[in-house]
């Protein structure tokens, strides 16, 4: 191939690279858009909320137990 041909090829490859970088940057900025990925994201959020609720429930139970124990000890005295 001639020198001009290589330069043309290089210019077109640079254009393809620019397009690929633009797609990657915009996609990263927008975040996932596939249905599977969005479902997984929703599932992770639901699990996080459930875990938080379980922790709150456990703390509430512990508080109840401590209060009952205190009241029992007071009754014995």
């Amino acid at each position: 191939m001639s020198r001009d041909g290589w330069q043309l090829l290089g210019s077109l490859l640079a254009a393809a690279l620019i397009a690929a970088v633009a797609i990657a940057v915009v996609t990263a900025r927008l975040g996932p858009t596939s249905v599977a990925e969005l479902d997984a994201q929703e599932e992770r959020l639901r699990e996080r909320i459930e875990r938080r609720e379980e922790r709150q429930e456990r703390r509430r139970e512990l508080r109840e137990q401590r209060r009952e124990a205190r009241e029992e000890a007071r009754g014995r005295r």
């Binding site: 254009a15 970088v21 927008l30």
Partner: protein, 135 residues
């Protein structure tokens, strides 16, 4: 359109418009080499001009596709975005006509090219920039 874009027409449009804008900026560099305003050692004027033409064809296809998506999904809203987009396609059509069929009007190509890039940037700013800002 919703099926083709899997329910993300706005996002797909933002990607296409951003690719067109990035390539548009590259086009300015290529044609500056083509007109010998820039003289890099690794690229001559003739291959730069030919690459400018090929990349320009790709950008034109991207813009027509993006405009079609925009009209199919959102219709005509009459705002600045619609006006800039319509003007962009009109100026682009004139530029293509000058390149292909009216070579003696070649001195109009630099201002037409700058107008295309300015209108492309304006169209992008009034739509895709907002989508990416929200992202």
């Amino acid at each position: 359109m919703q099926t083709v874009t899997r329910g993300n027409p706005t996002e797909v449009k933002a990607v296409l418009a951003t690719v067109a804008l990035a390539l548009g900026a590259y086009q300015l560099a290529l044609i500056a080499v083509g007109y010998r305003r820039l003289r890099p050692s690794f690229l001559g004027a003739r291959p730069a001009t030919r690459a400018h033409r090929a990349v320009g064809d790709a950008i034109a296809a991207l813009l027509v596709l993006t405009a079609f998506m925009c009209l199919a999904v959102f219709g005509v809203d009459g705002g600045l975005h619609a006006a800039a987009g319509a003007a962009l396609l009109a100026v682009l059509a004139v530029k293509v006509a000058v390149v292909r069929w009216i070579p003696r009007a070649g001195r109009l190509l630099p201002p037409l090219g700058l107008a295309v890039f300015t209108l492309l940037a304006l169209t992008w700013l009034t739509s895709a920039a907002g989508v990416l800002g929200d992202g």
